[in-house]
């Protein structure tokens, strides 16, 4: 056995720190199971994979903010551990800090994704979203079997990764194919075998195993609401509407003359939809637009039921799972139930509940699909 300098035991006969570290990494690698799930949302990119008896989630906020590019700024950002990206002469703060910077300067953040897909109006969208995806997904932990040469990678037999995609939007004239193909192509360049999964369907896989994957998954994301009705794990209908958290922020911002970033920060930190009185101007506007949004999505679900020609006979009342960042404010599920009671769906509804981890359920559902696919190999 050839030993490198680093593999030599330390002078005291005990293994060196570097050897211990190397063994730890190897031990961990052995436990990482094949298959990954990625949630590519307007607000966050999140990757889930299984390591031993734990699911690991890596996430990154999908926003950036341009600051003045000087060596001094760069040094300050490095020292304060603020993430940044430099492209040519431009310096962009990324992640959660982008939102803080935007609020500080009373401006809005820029986003690589808009309404659930790669933003058509953001010129830096593609390189930035690629970098953010790469940072959370990383390289495959399991390389394709064979000689490991590039040809193996090109044959796309790498580790399976399921990535979330929105359903076709009912209320917007854009198609999601470009978005799907760009993300799929990029994941292939990283060495994966990418497969798309509808966001609502992923929620069902993550949350409705005990109900034989029968029920409805709703993902209230940043740019879209995704809906999927599934029967025995098979999607019956799936669609999206291009209104969600961002739409609420924009409407409230216009109503109360604030920036959307500031409204978003308040919405994420302190909004309580169960509160009935003593609401601030922003809270009142948020409450009004939440009502509007919920009513809008329920009316769209009713229309989809009306359009569906052959619905399977579902014996028991279905469960509805609410998920996504826009569903996080306290009292959201109560508000949803209240409006649903009034508007009623054409099928009996059992429970309406929040996903166990509303920000993780899409990535987790995608991981379940990837693990099932990997075990078939």
């Amino acid at each position: 056995m050839i030993k490198t300098k680093d593999d030599k035991p330390a002078g005291n006969g005990l293994p060196s720190d570097r050897q211990i570290h190397k063994r730890e990494i190897e031990g961990l690698k052995g436990q990482i199971q094949k298959g990954k799930g990625v949630d590519i949302g307007t607000m966050f990119v999140k990757c889930a994979y299984k390591e031993g008896d734990e699911i690991i989630f890596k996430s990154q906020r999908n926003a950036f903010f341009e600051v003045e590019h000087t060596d001094f700024t760069k040094k300050i950002l490095d020292n304060s551990k603020v993430k940044y990206i430099i492209k040519e002469d431009n310096l962009y703060v990324v992640g959660d800090e982008a939102l803080q910077f935007a609020n500080m300067f009373n401006k809005d953040t820029r986003r690589p994704l808009s309404k659930g897909v790669i933003s058509p109006t953001e010129k830096e969208a593609l390189p930035i979203i690629e970098l953010l995806i790469k940072s959370v997904v990383g390289e495959p932990a399991h390389k394709p079997e064979g000689n490991g040469l590039p040809s193996a990678r090109q044959s796309h037999k790498g580790e399976i990764v399921y990535f979330s995609v929105p359903g076709e939007p009912l209320d917007a004239e854009f198609n999601v194919l470009y978005h799907i193909k760009m993300v799929e192509g990029f994941l292939k360049t990283l060495g994966y075998t990418p497969k798309p999964i509808n966001e609502g369907h992923a929620i069902i896989l993550s949350e409705l195993a005990e109900e034989d994957f029968t029920g409805m998954g709703l993902s209230f994301g940043g740019g879209m609401i995704n809906v999927c009705l599934s029967f025995m794990s098979v999607p019956i209908f799936k669609f999206s509407v291009a209104k969600s958290g961002d739409w609420i922020d924009q409407q409230v911002a216009m109503a109360v003359d604030e920036t959307a970033s500031r409204v978003s920060a308040i919405k994420e930190s302190s909004l309580d939809l169960s509160k009935e009185g003593d609401l601030s101007k922003i809270e009142s506007a948020l409450s009004i637009y939440y009502n509007h949004l919920i009513e809008y999505v329920i009316e769209n679900i009713k229309q989809e039921f009306a359009k569906a020609r052959r619905l399977p006979r579902i014996a028991n009342p279905i469960s509805i799972i609410l998920s996504g960042g826009t569903s996080l404010p306290k009292g959201f599920s109560g508000r949803f139930k209240q409006i649903l009671d009034r508007l009623k769906l054409p099928i009996p509804v059992g429970s309406v509940r929040m996903a166990s981890q509303p920000l993780r359920s899409v990535a987790k559902g995608a991981l379940i699909a990837a693990s099932a696919d990997e075990s078939k190999k």
């Binding site: 690991i56 993430k83 492209k87 390189p127 940072s135 209320d171 360049t189 034989d212 099932a372």
Partner: protein
Amino acid sequence: MGLTGTEADIINCVARLRLVTKDQIRRQVGFSLEYIGFLCRDLIRRCYLGFSEGHYFLAKDGIRTLLAEDTPKIDRKLLKEVAEEVARQISGELKRAVKGIKIPVPPSGIRKDAGFETSPEERIKINTDFDFPIEDESLVLESNIDKIGIKIEKEKSDDMDKTVRLFKEMHKKGRKR
């Protein structure tokens, strides 16, 4: 239900330009693209407008209703011009049909008065299962993300293996059926 002022403005704009995109309407009428889209969808639903390949046009039923109702704010002179054009078009089509020329029905859809609507039975299936090579544009970026690290959360996987097994079984059963 009658037309609101903005809806009448949209109808007049479409009548003037005959075939018009949402953006053109927005530039003429004002308001956001989203709001114009919302109003146009409603006008399609109420059979005033038709929509095909990204363009709105006046629907025949809509022209008939508007002329019959004497709707306020609607430019009747312009509407009559459009109605005459439509009538000429129909008569031309009829003449051709009589001469034995077959007018092809677009396979992708059936024509309704409110525009083209795809019939589910005749829907074309387009293969989207193709490889599209992408270049890694992020290679030109400099970043400290790797140095600072990514936010990591963990949760116990508990029943995940059971869920994966159940999902696989259901898929198998589904395929057998």
